[in-house]
Symmetry: C2
Subunit: 158 residues, 2 copies
């Protein structure tokens, strides 16, 4: 099944389950929200997206703790968890997605290389964060993150 | 010049002028932020994007007046103006972009047809809103809005 079909099925599944969704994304820069909103009917499911590119915007809009960014870095499991949990609470939706990573080509370090990404999913039951490392250019990186997001949303939309 | 080259030039121009940018977009659903952040170096210029898809998110995140939405509708000059002005103030950036429209295929009326879009640009000097009507499918609509946004950003980045 291609990406568009998967997205359509997810929007349909969320609609049928009467579930709603919000996304806080850093390194994907709006791509996840963009792809979801390409689907007609997305407005029944998708409430808001926040592209929290700067650290300040993560703190200001998503209530990420400044201490967490200082201690763990903005690309960390802790920050992804707060992004996912907080966007769900801010938007009063059922599912919150939080994404932070390094799209590259610059900004990588030995410990946190280009392509590293943490993706968090928050429901009223739990908030889980998954770690990936994608060796890809800046634009392919976004697409690879989307694929993973869709893998989880298929399950969460049921 | 193709779109990617135009985007690169705009990011470069903003960087050289030491200007920053934030985007509040409704109908384009994250596409404008996504395309800007495809450019390496965007993080020096682009601070945040808000995809305020629901009316509630426009009120809650962008401080759009509920009375304006009631009086003029969420797709209106007044709401675009508030989106542009308020995202600039919230983000403390130099340029705020606010976009509200009807991507379709549903949601249009005789007075506000599918393809109608208001695009606002706010600087510390003024906030202007431009009205367009694009006869296009949902995805082409986003691209046509981006083209117009870039036309104005070329000038504003100088």
């Amino acid at each position: 099944m291609n990406e568009l079909e998967r997205l359509k099925n997810i929007i349909k599944s969320f609609s049928v389950s009467n579930k709603t969704l919000a996304v806080a994304e850093s390194c994907t820069g709006g791509y996840i929200s963009h792809m979801i909103t390409n689907i007609s009917g997305a407005s029944n499911v998708f409430d808001m997206g926040i592209v929290c590119y700067s650290n300040q915007s993560k703190i200001q809009l998503l209530n990420v703790e400044a201490e967490s960014i200082e201690s763990y870095g903005s690309v960390s499991k802790e920050v992804a968890k707060q992004l996912a949990f907080n966007i769900r609470n801010i938007s009063h939706t059922d599912i919150g997605v939080g994404i932070t990573g390094i799209a590259g080509p610059t900004g990588g370090t030995k410990q946190k290389p280009v392509g590293l990404v943490y993706i968090g999913f928050s429901t009223n039951e739990k908030t889980d964060v998954y770690k990936y490392e994608f060796k890809a250019d800046r634009i392919s990186f976004k697409k690879l993150v989307l694929e993973k997001v869709l893998d989880y949303l298929v399950e969460l939309g049921k």
